[in-house]
Symmetry: D2
Subunit: 289 residues, 4 copies
């Protein structure tokens, strides 16, 4: 049985902390109580951090705003790395012009627009503009009619050979203590299976997410992977992805993995965090503020 | 390269013919032209037949009526074996009482009702009746709100351990010469993957479909599998299932498998029909009517 | 939490009992202690039984002999239904002549030979006989050189479009209290994935196994599925298959499913036995012998 | 139908070229005829290149030597990025001490040894050293007894929760114009399925391979992804992986993808190279040597 360790004593050993968002910093009920202390401590210790999240429904600026509204003012947009940003980078590099058809809310589509590209919701693709569609993106499970637009997507992708990007790899996400919601990653997997084509997925556990954050750091300072620790609540995304990228990892028990299940799940999946902590909270008493 | 053979010369060798419906007897445009001759010929030759179909959206009586309306009066309800009938048999044998929640049209649910069971669409399951839900069935892709009712289904199945039946294994079905529709089997696979539980599937290529028709025959006459031939347009369902059940099989090129693709697909999948025919039509000139 | 029930009181309710072999009648240590009482009780009550097993490594006669040697003399060959028998039926119906190449021991191949067919181990297929190979069968994980013969199988199946039968669907089987062995079903799945063709699988949970036993009974007496109960130790094969075929099912805790795990696994997989019993033993005191 | 373009005119547009090895630089028959001209041209133009290969059976030094023996003296070890190097990096970062059990030849294991680690073939793991095993690696399909050592691997991984690394993701590799060999990636997938644990895979199409090469370049010069082109013969690894990493891609028709199949496969898979070329050869006449 793996020992539960003190979160502060672990982050003291690293220079840079990567955090997952959902289940670590916030839950469906709002911020994890006391999490603001963690960011105050990091600031006091001059340690850096990034929030690495499979959330493509909003831009980093909007994600940061939502933290601020909830009272976590320390987290700024430049500290957020989302699967939506990888999507935007892909479009910048690989799709020079045309229309990008998407499934998601209008908000989710704005920040991926680039100079030469227009985004259009799937519902507005028709015979007059279908020839200009140069890519298709699964962004969010909201903002469209599932029956109409999913059938339309299947038929668009059967007819056109274009890059298809899944900006969120999750198949479901928690809605409340009892309920989950089908996520756009689950819907995309169904459609990929029906059309038989290969989609491009961005999001943990894929290394490209970690690489993106790692590269942001290297732009202003040298860093070794040994100086970074990844903190997450999900073995299959945060811990598997962090391990594979070569980082040490902390499993926290405040989200997806319940305290009573951690050992069983680690043994069953073979995915081993370097450490296990109750949550990612540094107690205010722990650093004398 | 496999030779295209004459359909009449093949069915002359067998006592009983099993037909797939879609792509063999009818297409999205209506009946396959001339197919009524085939049934006239079978009647003249006193050969029996069954239509073995992955269609759970209507009862055999309703399916027969739709043939009659299109002018194929020879096909009667007692000759139709559908995946919906296997679903009904399952409920008869294994679910003695309670409410069966379903996704599909009201029509699709009526014929599976049995003495002790009520069927209710997923939209009408709520806190007052959830305790009585004793099974859940995926019947048809129409008749419900995809977003609301699929999310409701996911959460129902996470909370209750009940038998879940998928009455149609297809992931998509043809709508027109160019377009397909997502089928309830594809939706069910997405939800099975999200909830991580094992659903019960009825439909070709599963042997139980063939067994059901085979048993109907044996109730009134002895028969050997060598005297039956299965006619279908899809390698992965009709031909694979027929072969595995021990039947000779005819691939027709009037539906899912295009004339130019047959050899490539047979080699690629390793699924070999005993014969290939252009379609399942006996020409009227062939039997002197 | 599901109640553990008394095995005798359950079989008293049924006319015919289907037993899985491994984990129910025997384990790697030999016969389940006291299991001979169960068969004595069935004889005294004039109840019938069949052993329905995913074992294609030996013929029913050889399987019965192995029970006799261990002291269970009541079980006769005509009461054993194996996935090997379905393989033999398939060859009888669908492969009229030629050579059947196989992976397995020579013993496993003898009983599937039919009038027009020769069986040859994969190691003896060469340029002089490859043209006559009309089917390929995965029978057993023993009796061949894994490296040489698996590579040979891959290349044979890439070149020839022939039926490929997997006579045992299990991916691993228990060898001792701590160890398992890779089963031929696991090896076949690897090769199916590499060659990209569709193999034909016989074995539980597939309905064809249950139908074979069901048909044996119907040859000499009328029977309803409601009068049969399936007894097994594995949710994914015995219980899922029995349920789907429409039978009531008993999960015994003497094999694959440990007493402490039964409820968790039933909830996780959604596969529900009708009953749970400690084992399939009728205590001798229970029927006054 | 996509146009076949001239290879020289394409690489003229990029600063750095990534090459796949098998099917691009060499085939089972040896070097691709004329490929030395390509490397002479790159040297003359002062363009850089990396060979990015899913080959973990030998170290970069040994891989370079094998090119030299065949007459391609231009390729040096520092230009080779293999999935074995990612494996070594993983061990350096994540496995500080103990024994690394491996499947493969002794040569394949030497170069992954690091200061604190010993490598031992699976055949030499026994009760005296099993407690010290801290990781397991699938390196090569040669150098071990498949039956004994694969069964041993399954049982080791059932008992110990340790990181498992698959150093080559391919499921098969070409041996001659007609034959393939089962690769260690295919074997690893079978075992992963049996033990139910999550293995760590290194190799294209995974981004980490491309990032490793990208990082090597950035150590000595600034570079943008727009200045790099990936050249490969396989859509599912080279082209999919290159595209996802944000690189332009060239599909060459000298290996896995045959000239007549390219368009069909691109449409079927949805994986689109930026360009298609016959091969990666710059004709000597093209640059006036």
């Amino acid at each position: 049985m793996k020992r539960i360790e003190n979160f502060k004593s672990i982050i003291d050993k690293y220079e840079i902390i990567f955090f997952d968002a959902f289940g670590v910093i916030k839950t469906y009920q709002g911020l994890v109580p006391g999490i603001e202390n963690t960011f105050a401590y990091l600031a006091a210790q001059k340690k850096e951090y990034y929030i690495v999240t499979n959330d493509a429904s909003r831009s980093p600026v909007q994600l940061a705003e939502s933290y601020h509204k909830q009272g976590l003012t320390a987290v700024t947009a430049d500290r957020i790395v989302s699967s939506g940003m990888l999507t935007k980078e892909y479009l910048d590099l690989k799709v020079p012009d045309g229309i990008v058809a998407y499934l998601g809310t209008p908000e989710s589509s704005h920040y991926i627009e680039t100079s030469g590209l227009n985004t259009l919701p799937m519902s507005r693709i028709n015979s007059s503009n279908i020839d200009k569609v140069s890519a298709m993106i699964f962004l969010d499970d909201e903002g469209f009619d599932w029956c109409d637009d999913l059938n339309k997507t299947v038929n668009l992708l059967r007819k056109k050979t274009i890059p298809v990007i899944v900006a969120n790899t999750d198949h479901a996400y928690p809605l409340s203590v009892n309920d989950v919601s089908i996520a756009i990653g689950g819907i995309a997997a169904m459609i990929e299976n029906i059309v038989g084509k290969k989609f491009i997925r961005f999001g943990k556990p894929d290394s490209q997410m970690f690489m993106f954050a790692y590269d942001l750091i290297r732009e202003y300072r040298p860093i070794s992977k040994k100086e970074i620790v990844m903190v997450g609540d999900t073995l299959q995304t945060d811990i598997l992805g962090g391990n594979k990228f070569g980082l040490d990892t902390v499993l926290v028990l405040s989200g997806n993995t319940l305290p009573g299940d951690a050992d069983t799940r680690i043994t069953a999946t073979g995915i081993m965090p370097t450490y296990i902590c109750e949550n990612a909270v540094v107690q205010s008493g722990e650093f004398g503020f």
